[in-house]
Structures are given as structure tokens and as C-alpha cells.
Symmetry: C2
Subunit: 584 residues, 2 copies
Amino acid sequence: MYLEKINGPADVKALSEGELECLAAEMRRALLARLSRHGGHFGPNLGMVEATIALHYVFDSPRDKLVFDVSHQCYPHKMLTGRKEAYLDPAHYDDVSGYSNPAESEHDHFTVGHTSTSVSLACGLAKARDLRGEHGNVIAVIGDGSLSGGEALEGLDFAGELRSNLIIVVNDNEMSIAENHGGLYGNLKLLRETEGSAPCNLFRAMGLDYHYVADGNSISALIAAFRQVKDSASPVVVHIHTEKGKGYAPAEADRESWHFSGPFDLETGRPLYAEEAPDFSSVTADYLLSRMEKEPSLVAITSGTPTVLGFTPEKRKRAGRQFVDVGIAEETAVALASGIAAGGGKPVYGVYSSFIQRTYDQLSQDLCINKNPATVVVFAGSVYGMNDVTHLGIYDIPLLSNIPELVYLAPTTKEEYLAMLDWSTGQREHPVAIRLPGGEMISDGRTVTKQFGALNTYEVTARGSRVALLGLGTFYPLAQEAAERVARQTGVRPTVINPYYISGIDAELLEELKRDHQVVATLEDGVLDGGFGEKIARFYGSSEMKVLNFGLKKEFLDRYDVEEVLRANHLTAEQVADDVCALL
Amino acid sequence: MYLEKINGPADVKALSEGELECLAAEMRRALLARLSRHGGHFGPNLGMVEATIALHYVFDSPRDKLVFDVSHQCYPHKMLTGRKEAYLDPAHYDDVSGYSNPAESEHDHFTVGHTSTSVSLACGLAKARDLRGEHGNVIAVIGDGSLSGGEALEGLDFAGELRSNLIIVVNDNEMSIAENHGGLYGNLKLLRETEGSAPCNLFRAMGLDYHYVADGNSISALIAAFRQVKDSASPVVVHIHTEKGKGYAPAEADRESWHFSGPFDLETGRPLYAEEAPDFSSVTADYLLSRMEKEPSLVAITSGTPTVLGFTPEKRKRAGRQFVDVGIAEETAVALASGIAAGGGKPVYGVYSSFIQRTYDQLSQDLCINKNPATVVVFAGSVYGMNDVTHLGIYDIPLLSNIPELVYLAPTTKEEYLAMLDWSTGQREHPVAIRLPGGEMISDGRTVTKQFGALNTYEVTARGSRVALLGLGTFYPLAQEAAERVARQTGVRPTVINPYYISGIDAELLEELKRDHQVVATLEDGVLDGGFGEKIARFYGSSEMKVLNFGLKKEFLDRYDVEEVLRANHLTAEQVADDVCALL
């Protein structure tokens, strides 16, 4: 009734506070309908309905600029800023992305997807405004879970010195994806318990003014609070206490599971998709747990995403102090792993490819210069991984494989992975990272006897001649398929190689191939620039060997169709075979 | 008298508190003597003499583990842990590095050089201790300047949840390299002014216990405080107020200049080296200042190292609000730059190659996905840069050149640099980074007319045949020299190319070279893996063209001789020419 008529914030401002309550209910219903069919970030958005309404009621976007942290909680914001169709009409569900997007609307200022960036980005907007003599409020909206991230804490500290308007809305729903971790959450709790009056106040300690809103799901309370800070001349925090998942009982009860959901049955809350097959996450947790009791210094580490390495609440409990969640703080996770290794422990840090991007310096400095034997397991490092532009997993090979001393491994199967994990956590010479292959997990039951400590020794799995195909990780099966095709098309039987080592070349083998091969092709599941294949190309640069590198073009992709992207990059068996045959 | 007999902490413990005072004076004298001859980090070490004595007096290193942040303040620690000769005898000055070093002593646990890592590393040692059922104190020593860094704030937050022994000594000398920046420094000031009793306390807000020592240069006060926290069962901060540069009047008076010093005259404090010639730092500041008055939205950004882009205290004053120091917080610097660009401003962030390692994710996510037109200037990205293992500048090409949308430029002269800076700050399409060449700044007075907006267009500066030499950045003159030698040795006159663009290839030119060239050689001032030359090798992989890539081997170097390293990597004109000729 109201929502259908909202085309922008002006339409929100035209409503009475009573009507705003109805609008909130409608928005919640629309969200539930859409999420149950389409999936998406659930809890965060339900919890932010009232706050978003109040923000647009009080502030004047886009003159006043809203910057959402992560921005997974921006669905209500999009609904109120001209994109309601995408939340009301199934035919338009995919008109919008799951994150803020300047290409969609002038009310969005950045494409965002990683945590903890909003305050610093907002400070930039504020600084530009001041330098240009412009006016308007700049408002960052950040969840309590994001506060543990270094960039956010830096941002609060920097904001504390800004002598102009900056409003930081801290949405405290007492949750990260899972439970919060870190001492500062004790302070948030104290602030909640004292209605914001406790003198010990993290935000004031950062030099910021501070307000507290006990009922962050009360539109009137929020409107009053936002009015109070509007146009303030110095930075101020508005700490609002909301309920994650509010309005849907199953989500209120199990906030971790309902952070993000696939399609589900609205009546029962049960997922509409089949129970997941064992995957690398569950395999990792089960493997580590099977060893933990006998090895008290074997410890699994996460930075706010426990289920990426398969540690459900139940498994976390079983692991006890051998499972550590540092909160959303990837840099500290790597440094912690280095310190644990230095102290004689066996740390295993599991993290998404996209988020390991935060840790280059810690991997290089804290870990690798010290050659501390920690293990990092990289999940979703693949074109088959997450496909939002801010969660791509296709850049970690250039990022990690060029750090000295880091042994970066690419298993192709579950068995190879576990053998690598076994080796890595049993040795003390090298920092190791393992890049899990994308797509369905392949398990072939093979007993892997390879000695991974003999670094940079590739494995010839099929000895042929004239052409050698190096299939790294995910694309090892692709190399095998392409080899079959080449054989069928030309009668030439290619050599097939499983390189295993992303970070180094097997010079002896590559040299040997010169004897009876004219073409070497490399296949990698990531961007080619700075990647694996280029190392091979450099090796053969001054020789007669022809080298073909298959992988992804250096670009940002967004909400892509995997098959289309593979085809565009010649990453099908047919195309690989054709390109190879053309050189024979 | 006392110092000469200190071979380890046991010898410190054997002294009376009165004798410790004498020891402190001797240590200070030794430091002054050494620093005046040899140079090194000055203020930080003079300020930490008493605290270091007290730490070794109370704690039992190496069973109790000390982790120094940055570790530039560890000279007193080294003096007391078996390395006094390196501080007493000029013949032994270079026996030790300028940072903590496990290879030198069991009392050092990590090789460290970047800020803000100590707390997280120490948490790792503590966690390993607990998991292994071991005992002992773990003590992180971190300066107030390092607190603004995200990893340190994450570390404090993580420590706040650790339910076991961890001691964090916060050495508050009211300084970073330059003045501190950030709201939290207001809290440190409040704590100093209230002798630690103010209820609003950043550390307590992070969940940590807290003690304050007003006179952090009083050995007895420090001993009392350290005794109080020794063996505590939960994490605690000991906030000590020290005087940077204590014991040398010039350093006490001008704490910024005396953070690090080269050799100087002990009597007068005057440097023993000549006034520095104009370099890229002074050129940058002067250029930006010349524009700032007319362009109020042109803003220079630093993350705690203002003089890297030439902004001395006097020039900072002139720039006013158009110079922003975010404190040691590189990630926020990049996000801030992105936000300023998004708001219509013209941000220029100047940073050392080594420290930009902290910002991969912010460059990729905050800046490049948003294609915001910020400019990043990378200093000391060169084998001629800093040569401590923790401050190397040879990894930024693989790090930056493989991020989509980032235009990474390599000027060879001052004139090219200023032309690039001019272009970059005048356009609004691309995020740009500029990698300053190493060694002496070359200025040829040339008017640069190149249109840098025509991306990835290399420049043929000498048209020859058969061999093409692509000299990137620092090594453009090397390419010219090698070309001369090739011509003399073989009569073949090579083509010489200034590529300018590290992040992209000039496919048209490279294709054209196939007509009358058989060899292409690339020369880059950085590690080859993931670098510029490999892109060229990949381009020509399936062709007849032979490619030779010259650059550095992928390894960590420490306190190296540049000429030796160049020679080992065939980066002399003679070797380049010989290797090229061998292929002709």
C-alpha cells in the first residue's frame, strides 16, 4: 500500500510516523517473500528496516550521503531509493545486486562488499565536501561485527580527528556472521546495559561524540536520535541496538544460520535445497577434529567465517580452545598463526580467497620473512566461487604465489588436499598455503604418496610427446579432457602434468620437456596476469618451446555466468584443444 | 663499567637498582657514540633505555618472551642480551641488524620491521604456550605511534578476549615519526593527564586490564609496575610515559628529526653528511604546493611518514587542511583517497613501496572496483631502496600491476613523473599509481608531451632491429647502455623502448616488433615473479620471438650490497648485452 508508491526518499518523508510503521511491516513482508524465493542476506536486512526508514526520513539523500559497511544490509535502502520493483516483483529480483552499487542509483556511493571500509570511505566523502566548500551530512552505517576489522578501527580513529560533520551509525545486533569475538564487544555490552551512559566508551576513547538508541527497531526513537545529530559539526556515533532477523521467528532464534539464506519455505523456515554433499569445508573440519584430541597444539583459526572451514557451532564446541575466531580481523589471523607456529603450535587458518586479500603484508612480513610453519587454506579461490564483484576468488594466485618462502599448493582432489594438509601441519620448515579447487569436490579414493617437502616437483600423470598440458588445481580435469581431444583430433598424445606447486617451477622437468615437446600449455583457475602460467612462459622465453597460457583475463567480473566466462577465456576442453592443435 | 660485563639478562638481575641507573647512563653514552658514528634509529632507543632495563630485570627472557613492535627501539634490548659488542666496538657495529632478529639471539622471536604487528604476534606466542601447557610471560612492547594501525587495534581487541597471560607495554612518547594523528591520541593524553585514572580508557574498552606509569624513564617505577603485572592470568596493558630522545638535548627538542639519523657531530648535533640534493620527495611536495592554493580540493595524504612525500613541518603548515596524515593506517589512507575522489576531490597518497603492501584489498576493493580517480605515488620501490629485509621495495610490481583498473606507471625521470602526476590528478577515469625510479633522480629538462590517457602505449625511443630492449623505470638507462654494448659487440642496433605502463601491454607495438626482431628483453627493478617481464613473455609465448626477462630473483634480501645483487641477477649492462648477444 505504501511501499508501491515509494520512488525515492521524498516519498518516505511525506508519510506520517504511523504510516512509517506500516511501511516497515510491508517492507518486511516483501523481504520475506523475496528472500524465501530468491535467497540473500537475511538477518541483517530484517534488522535494519526501521533504521533505514528513519535515515531516509531524517536525512536528505543523495545530498546527504549514506555509506553502508559491507552493504549486505542495504536491501531496505534500495527499496526506498527507486528500486522497489526489485523487491516486489519476482521478474525484477535480479535487477539489483546484493550490495551497494553506484551504477544503479545516485543514492549509492561505492560498490562495497568487504567489511570495515565504510568509515574510512565516508571520511573521504566528508573531506572532499569540506575541501570543496560543499555541505551535507555524511553517514556511515556499520554493523558491530565489522568493528573488529582493522580498517574500521583505523577509520574511527581518523574520524576522531576530523573537525567536521561525520555520522557513524553503529548497528549493534550482537552478532557477526556467527557470534562476535573480541574484547571490544564487552564494551558494547556495557554500553547497551547502561543505556550508553558508561564512562568507559570505545567511541569516546577514539575522540568521537556518542549517542545511544536502546530500541533500534523503534522508528520514532531512531528519528529522534538522527534528528539530534543531523548537521552536527563534529564526528558523532549513534549506537543503535537492533535485533538481527527481526520479524521472522526462526531467524530471531537462530541468528547465525539466518545471516544468509538460500530459498526456503516461509511457513517452516526449512531450506528448499537439498542437504549439502560433503565439501571441502566439512572435510576440513572433520579432518582437523579427528586429530585435535591427540594433538593439543593443533589449532584452527577463522576470521569471522567459521563455517568456511566447516566449523559449525557444534564442531566449534568440540574443538574447544583449539578453535579460534579472531573476529573479522584477517591480518591478525595471519599474525596469530605466525606467532602460534613460532611458539611450537600447529595453526591452520581457513579463509576465503577474497578476504585473504587483506593479508598480503602479514603473509609476507609476519609469516614468510620468519619462515614460520603455519598453514593457510584458501577457499573459493576459483571462477566457480562467489561471483559478486566484491567477492571474487580469482586474484589470489598473483597475490600469494609471488611471496618468497610461501609454498602455495594446488590440490586437485580431496585426497591430495588432505595429504597436503597432513604434510604441512607435520613439518616445520615452510609457511604453506593450500588453494582448494573450485566446483564440485572430486574424491578418487587414491592414496597420495607424494612427498610434498620435495618442493616444486610436478607430476607427470600421462607421458606423451609434442604437447604438454599443465592443469593446475581446478583445471587438472580440464587438461585431461583437452589432452583426449588433442589425441583424437591429431593422433598426438599429449603429456599431462599435475603441477601441484603454484609458487615455483619444476625447472628440471620443464627442461626435460624440451627434448620431445614443442608446445606447453598451462591452465589455471584465476587471472593470468602475475599468475602461474606466466612463470612457465618466462622459463621458456629464450627457447624454441611455444607456450600457451589459459586462464582469466585481468578484469573485474560481476554476477557472471560461469560457462560464459570460461568460454570467453577459451577455458573449455574444445577451445584448449583447438588452440593447441593450431600450434602443432 | 657495568655494560661491558652484561652478557645476558642474568647479569642485569645481579645489579642493584642504583647500579641499574649507572647502567642506563652507560647505555645511553654507548648509543650516542654509536649513533653519531653509524646512524640509526635515535629517539626511540634513547627513550626506551630504562624500560628495557626494567623489563629484563623483572622478566626472565627468553622463557618470558618479549616482542617489540617495529623493533626499531630494540637496541637497548640487544645490548642486554649478549650483543653489547655491536654497540661498544665500532668494528662490531654491523654484527647486528637494526631490528629484532631470531638469527642473532634466542631473546628475539620474530624478524619485524613493519608497525602494529607485535600484539597479534604476541597473542600467537601466548596461544601456543597455552595449548602446549607451557608457562611464562608474553610481553608485547608497542609505541603509541603504532596504535593507529589496524593490525594493532585488531590485536588489542583479540587480546581482550584471551583469558591468559599477555602483557602489553604501551610506550607513549607522544610521537609517531612525526606528530601523532587520530582521535585515540586524545585518550592517551587524557590518561596521561589523569595518571591513568580517567574512566574512559581505550584499553579497558578493549577488555584489557590497565596500569599507568607516569615516569616511564624511572627504573624503579618501571620495575614496580612490571612486578605488579608479572605472571598475571589475564591480558593487561602497562601504559608508560617516556621521553623520546631522552638524554640528548637536540633530540629532546626536535623529536621528529631525531627519529632516525645518519652520522652526526655529537657536540653540535649537526649531520655529518651533505645537505640532500633535490629528490623525488622534495619535488613532490613543491609541485603539489605550487598547485594547492588554486585547487582547494587537491590534497596530499600520508600514513605517518610525511617526509616521504617531502612534507616537512614547514610545508605541512603551508598546505594546511590540504595535507592529511591519517597516522600509521595505510588501509584507511587508500580508502580515504577513494572517498575523496568519489566526492570530487583530487587525492595524492604518497607511500613507501614496503608499506603499500598493507593495502592490496583497499586498492582493489575500495579504489579500483569503484574506478575512483585517486593517485598513489610509490616511493623507494627499487633495489636501490631500503635494504633491511623488512623494508624492501622490490615486490610492489607483482602486487599492484595485476589489480584490474589500476594504471601503474613507471617514469624514468623527474619530468616524466611530474607529467604523469599532472595527468593523473587532472583526469577522472582511472585510479593511478606511479612508481618512482630508484637511485639518483634523473632530470633531463625534457618537455614531456606524452598523453598518458592513451593507456598502454609504450614509446620507442630508438628504432633498431633484431633486438628490442624494454627498460622499465629505474632500468631505462640500463637498457640504453646495454643497447650500446650490443651495437658495439655485434653491429646490431637494438630498438630501445620506454614502456611507461607496468600494468598493461602495448599489444600493437609488441605485435609489430615480430616483423624484424627476434629477441625482446625486459628490464625491471623488482622481483620477476608476477612482474612486468612475464606479461611480455606470455604475449610472445606462442610465437617465434625469444624473450629474456631481467629482474630480481624471488627471495628475501637483507642488508645487501646493491652492486652484488645486481650482478647476481645479471642486471649490469655487460651481462644484459652478453645474454642478449648469446641469442642472436
